[in-house]
Amino acid sequence: MSAELPAGRSTGWWGMVLFVTTEATLFACLLGSYFYLRFQNGPQWPPDGIANPALLRPLLMTAVLVPSSLPMIWAERGLRRGRLWRVRAGMATSMLLGLTFLGLQATEYAELLTEFTLTTNAYGSLFYVITGFHGLHVLIGATMIGWVLTATRGGLDARRHDRVRNVAIYWHFVDIVWLGILFTVYLSPWL
């Protein structure tokens, strides 16, 4: 451990953890709403002849997004040893994977929007709002990484440490939430 990391958790760390907690609750409410509407809706789900969601692309998106936490962890480890290049390289990789994910999501939307939209029915509303809201989070995460990469150009110190760690927490959160969405929105209709 380098002496650069001060004792105890910082206020920033706690702030981010709590923020992520309340955000996680937000997603829980959205996913809860999905199941509520599904089970109030009768046996036919998705309704109105909408096909079950295709799985290939979301699985591919999962394969892109979930492993993107690994370079982030690697970057964090590098941070503790004071290896700035690892921080940079790791985070940049995560960001690229995140952007790839968004690209895949864009192609998915382009296809699906011809079949149903936000206004088609409650299923459409749920689908686009949940996945769109998550996509927005990926976008924010990627922006945060870009911002930290710029902010750490001057070297590393305690304050910058904090920011890297906080961005990492956020990124891991966005990843984990995706698993909930994958299960709810894409897999559960097949069950």
Partner: protein
């Protein structure tokens, strides 16, 4: 400013001078707009919430005037519906919670022996957002475009088909906007209480008021998202044709109710909990002893916070859910009375063992106990589904929630105003005026709301802008109206008392009451840096404890004086071990800019100026990036 010099010999005059120089903000418009001092922000919360309280209270007086007689046409149904919706919404969201957050802001750092909140600039931001969100909502009233769907805005009445116009867009956007402030405040409180406590203040020495604020903040963290999701979905339904709540599109109207009350029930405890905390803070000073059963009371606070998430469907006892779920929610709602009972009897025991000093704050605490227990027992009645189905949505419910809200939140708030006024303003209030205010408020309250039990049982539904004569409702409604005016006079006397104290009050000593918590160990009003020496805490009642007092005297170590820069110590989460000093941010204009940009964003969304909204989002992102940009200052001083 300080009246009496506290003997904190541990910090020599040069330290004090340097502290003053580093922390004090010179009074100017600029510092007024950019301040991050938790005391100034706390005061602002109190005044602003008081202002919204007056608006919501005046709305209530108008409603009561309309209801004084049957068939009155003082107000049109349009006006009445907007007034009662704004009354409820503002009382809950713009008065009760922010008022108590104001107390929290002012007091938490002082009570735990810190120099500021964990995130001072976030704190400033939270205040500005609260102010703007409140104005955003109230501004709609003069245009006749205020929310009119009741404070819980049930769909489909609030769908765009049944409520065209801006009314409900003001509601959804206003509450989403306000939610940013509440969430920010909650996170700030938790982190402050976890990390900023004076060394030696382990969790089991944390004042009950701080416990209450922390529990409240946790409830906010877990409850508010449900409201936000609900409002976002309603906004999307109304504006962009989504189908969440539209049965014709496969949506469901009960989804709104579930999400609303998953938030709404914890919210009523979010309101009452800090109130109970104030009671626990006021009692020791006026009974000359600590609150009985500290661990039990803490346990009760935590239990309420947790159980409050399992009772929401008791607001839906008449919608026809399955009987099993009613059995469950009914049981949970009954159980939640027990922690309240523990607290009531802990306070009673405290009063029975201590020596009562009957000053105005204690009067309000006694008024609180009487009123809150009456409101609580009707709550326990509603917990039983069969009974609730008879009285729900009648004035009986209106009676219940005013007993718990006025009794459980307003009375403690008034107790707190009198109790901490010397600390906040440095001036004493006039006791006789305070007593008059108490009796008028207390009598007015019961004359207004007790009869509502009766006409509720006599079959009068709530939210009616008028009612027919000849059903035994008329006379009692008149009584309620008279009571409301008495209550208003009492509150006016409170206001007069506050203004009088600020203008003419006797200067207050640091500790006029002999209170037990740390805020009484510093000047009234406290200096910008709160404490010349951060105390080392040795007990649950630090001010009554000689060792804690000594810790700020000669021999106080430099790591607790920290006069270089704006610094305060961080301690460990559980046992309050000293960790390291941190540098606190300086005044900044960014919080205000960010809040203003958000105001532009929400206004643009309201009027569907989407390009403006997009531009505002860009400015928001830029401001946040600049705000969090790591500065150079930190290294310069370490």
């Amino acid at each position: 400013m300080s009246i009496v010099d506290t003997p904190a010999a541990g910090a020599d005059p040069t330290d004090r001078e340097r502290l003053a120089e580093n922390w004090t903000e010179r009074p100017s418009l600029r510092s007024w707009l950019t301040t991050v001092d938790h005391k100034r922000i706390g005061r602002r919360y109190l005044v602003t919430a008081g202002f919204f309280f007056a608006l919501a209270g005046i709305s209530a007086l108008l409603m009561r005037t309309q209801l004084a007689n049957p068939g009155s046409d003082l107000l049109s149904p349009q006006q009445y519906n907007q007034l009662f919706t704004m009354h409820g919404t503002a009382m809950i969201f713009l008065f009760a919670t922010p008022m108590l957050f104001g107390f929290g802001n002012f007091l938490v750092p002082l009570m735990i022996g810190s120099r500021d909140m964990a995130f001072p600039r976030l704190n400033a931001f939270g205040y500005w957002v609260f102010l703007f969100a409140g104005l955003f909502m109230w501004a709609s009233l003069p245009f006749g475009a205020a929310p009119n769907g009741g404070w819980f805005a049930y769909v489909p009445l609030t769908s765009v088909q049944d409520s065209p116009g801006l009314h409900l867009d003001v509601y959804t956007l206003g509450l989403l906007f306000l939610g940013i402030s509440t969430t920010a405040g909650a996170i700030n409180f938790i982190v402050t209480a976890l990390k900023m406590r004076a060394p030696g203040m382990s969790l089991n020495r944390m004042p009950l008021f701080v416990w209450a604020i922390v529990a409240t903040a946790f409830m906010v963290i877990f409850a508010l998202p449900a409201l936000n999701v609900d409002n976002a979905m309603l906004f999307l339904d109304r504006r962009f044709g989504a189908g969440f709540f539209d049965p014709a599109a496969g949506g469901n109207v009960l989804l709104w109710q579930h999400l609303f009350w998953i938030f709404g029930h914890p919210d009523v405890y979010i309101i009452v909990m800090p109130g109970l905390g104030i009671v626990s803070a006021v009692l020791p000073a006026f009974t000359r002893r600590g609150v009985v059963g500290y661990p039990l009371v803490v346990l009760a606070i935590v239990a309420i916070a947790i159980i409050s998430f399992g009772v929401w469907a008791h607001h839906m006892f008449a919608v026809g859910l399955p009987q099993v779920s009613y059995g469950f929610f009914s049981a949970a709602s009954s159980i939640i009375t027990i922690p309240s009972g523990i607290q009531i009897f802990a306070w009673l025991a405290t009063m029975l063992l201590g020596r009562l000093v009957l000053r105005t704050p204690l009067l309000f605490v006694i008024g609180f106990i009487v009123t809150f227990v009456l409101g609580g027992v009707t709550g326990a009645m509603f917990a039983l589904t069969a009974f609730d189905q008879q009285v729900t949505d009648s004035y009986f419910v209106v009676a219940h929630f005013h007993y718990v809200l006025v009794g459980g939140a307003l009375f403690p708030i008034l107790a707190g105003i009198y109790y901490w006024l010397p600390k906040i303003t440095g001036r004493m209030y006039a006791e006789r005026l305070g007593r008059w205010a108490f009796w008028l408020v207390f009598i007015g309250m019961h004359v207004t709301f007790f009869p509502m039990h009766l006409y509720g049982l006599f079959g009068m539904p709530r939210r009616v802008y008028t009612y027919p004569a000849g059903l035994d409702w008329d006379g009692w409604n008149l009584v309620s109206t008279v009571g409301a005016y008495v209550l208003a006079v009492g509150l006016l006397l409170v206001l007069v008392g506050v203004v009088h104290a600020v203008r003419r009050g006797r200067p207050a000593p640091p500790d006029p009451w002999g209170g037990d918590t740390l805020e009484w160990s510093t000047d009234s009003p406290p200096p910008a840096y709160n404490f010349p020496v951060i105390p080392r805490v040795h007990s649950l009642h630090p001010t009554w404890d000689a060792r804690t007092a000594e810790s700020t005297g000669p021999g106080a170590t430099a790591d607790r004086i920290l006069s270089a820069g704006r610094r305060t110590p961080l301690t460990s989460e559980l046992d309050g071990r000293y960790e390291r000093p941190v540098e606190m941010p300086e005044a900044s204009g960014k919080p205000l800019v960010l809040a203003l940009t958000l105001l532009v964003l929400f206004t643009a969304l309201l009027f569907a100026w989407y390009p403006v909204a997009a531009a505002a989002v860009a400015v928001v992102a830029g401001t946040v990036a600049g705000w969090l940009w790591p500065g150079r200052r930190a290294e310069a001083r370490t």
